[in-house]
Amino acid sequence: MAITSSDVILMAHATSGVLGILSAMWVFVETLNAREENAGRIRKAAWIAALCMILTWILGGYWYLHFYPLDRALILKGPWPFAHTLFMETKEHLFFVPLILSFYLPIAASDKLYVNSAARKMVLCVALLIGLSGLAIEGSGAIINHGAKVALLQSITGRGR
């Protein structure tokens, strides 16, 4: 078994991204039931979401800059070049949306959500947007991964599948 640093960083960035999405969903559910008692928990979950997204940014960025060029060359020669030209290009720029939203989430969650319905609605919207955009990015990652896989299959078998 040969697990390289590239493999570890690749998996770690996807995992921290999922944890960021889950933390945002945690904020969403807690905010639906916002009370004085869970205000501290909402703020902690919002900070965890932000920290997970920062970690995803660092890990994903490191992998993208150091290891992705090889995958990109492979994908572009394979039967799914759009896995890079459409999905990777969109993913790498769309990532800044949940990143910025996750920076904002702890700020929005610092209001007294249990007495302020406007603040509650804002937190619900931001958490949901992080979840939805995060899922779109995770899905794009799966398509990029498959683009590399079918390119490798083509190089071995001489055809895509």
Binding site: H93, I100, D111, S117, L129, A136
Partner: protein
Amino acid sequence: MNTENEKLGRSSAGFAMAASITILFSTALAWAKDAYKPLNSFMDALAWHNWITHGLADVILFAGLGLLFSRTTWVERMVPSRLITFLVAAVVMAGAGLFIWYAVF
């Protein structure tokens, strides 16, 4: 939920506006550097890779605008539902705008 009579805190409102503007700016910057390669090269030179420069520009803009708007009262006076609508619209425009851009060009 009645959001018409309640206000967001000054920081919450200011940074919501900053996030919306930053998300729109980030989308426009992605289009611009894809359409105009000298900008891409310039951003490569600034911080090793254009993607790093792009991310740092977004974070600096978000923090800068957020701090600026948090010190003013006009964003705080905005109806919260309008701020929320603007933020949601910015995210939808970014998602659709980026996907369509890279699908077409």
